[in-house]
Assembly symmetry: C2
Homo-oligomer: 227 residues x 2
């Protein structure tokens, strides 16, 4: 057991070292990097598609896509006109700093304002791994139920921004926005909660404002907030 | 690295030994045990609530609930009149055979016909761990999108039954039942796909028939199918 713990500590230390290297590169280039997490089907790729359609041009975006298998999400992002690199993890349940470092070879950071890293669809494991990102965005969606912040507290506790997607389905579910906000506050008192629908476009402006403000902060060279 | 692999192999061997012990106990008692997996919010607890309400009485059911935190799901099952034991994994991303073995102390297997194990909401990690179950049930729900069998192939490949929940939301999403069935067949050609809605009750009869047939097979002492 002691051996296993020593080995695990060595793996974690290496992961943290690579994450710090990534954070340094992102910061030096003035690129805003967000790590997107959420359940399968919460709408991470849809949010990036809508963000690309509404922001690209003046804002130079790129995406790293993480999935166990297929390049379906990368194809969706490319169709939205944005450079994208797909990482397939095989059975892996989260992206690693090493995988992100390797994927960066596809981009010139100096040409970018914003880089989104879409993690594997999983509300548990990705929360444990720093990818050098400036901000963590956790997506939830109304059909999943309003109690997810209580049941997956680690992901929500570490979030810098919570996006509640699929508010167009509110009437068809028994989701309570008030309960959801209360549960989020219980694990992350100060985190913003942005309600939106990628399908109807409702609420997307506030999300785009948040991304633009973070992008300006990164461009000014503000260090990433302590985790 | 070699050390890490040796240690990992030892952990897997211990897990498989405990799973075989569980399978032996379930089989000797003639209890049908199903391991339920699915994304957060796919409707695992709702399916068990509806199953309890419609089957309990003639069928003696119990539930083991797995969650990172809270006993909310166990409370829901208890309110449906069914014995239930909650396992909290802390940050753990799946249930282990050891945790199930410990939870069994809450029940007398001789008094049961069916035991459901609701795994942690996660479409990745639980698929890697045998809990001694007779059958694996993988839940998907229409708002998650129809491509989940492609993107989470391990879970669907190992499934003995796929439940597609929330078909009452079909009209509000762009989910294609035909595409979903085709993608399931691609990774698990012979697995049954049961479409239902825990909210409206549509399709639940076919699910209950499946559970009853499996329960009869377990009662007759048929060995669990090879994985």
């Amino acid at each position: 057991m002691a051996k296993r713990i020593r080995l695990a500590k060595r793996v974690v230390a290496e992961s943290d070292r690579l994450a710090a290297e990534l954070a340094g590169r992102f910061s030096a280039a003035g690129v805003f990097v967000a790590n997107l997490m959420g359940s399968p089907g919460s709408g991470k790729t849809s949010l990036l598609e809508e963000t690309a359609r509404r922001m690209a041009g003046p804002c130079r975006m790129a995406v790293i896509e993480g999935d166990l298998a297929t390049d379906r999400d990368a194809q969706r992002i490319l169709r939205a006109g944005i450079p994208c690199r797909q990482i397939n993890t095989g059975g892996g349940c989260h992206l690693s700093a090493r995988q992100v470092l390797d994927a960066l070879e596809a981009f010139n950071l100096a040409d970018l304002d914003v880089l989104f890293i879409e993690n594997v669809g999983n509300l548990v494991c990705p929360a444990e791994f720093d990818l050098g990102e400036r901000r963590r965005v956790v997506l939830a969606s109304t059909p999943e139920g309003d109690d997810k912040p209580l049941k997956y507290p680690v992901a929500f506790h570490k979030a810098d921004c919570v996006v509640l997607n699929k508010i167009d389905l509110l009437a068809a579910t028994d989701f309570s926005r008030e309960a959801f906000r209360q549960y989020v506050r219980g694990v992350a008192p100060a985190v913003p909660v942005l309600e939106l629908s990628c399908r109807t476009g409702e609420g997307l402006d506030a999300w785009l404002d948040w991304v633009r403000a973070e992008s300006r902060a990164a461009r000014r060279g503000e260090p990433r907030p302590a985790k």
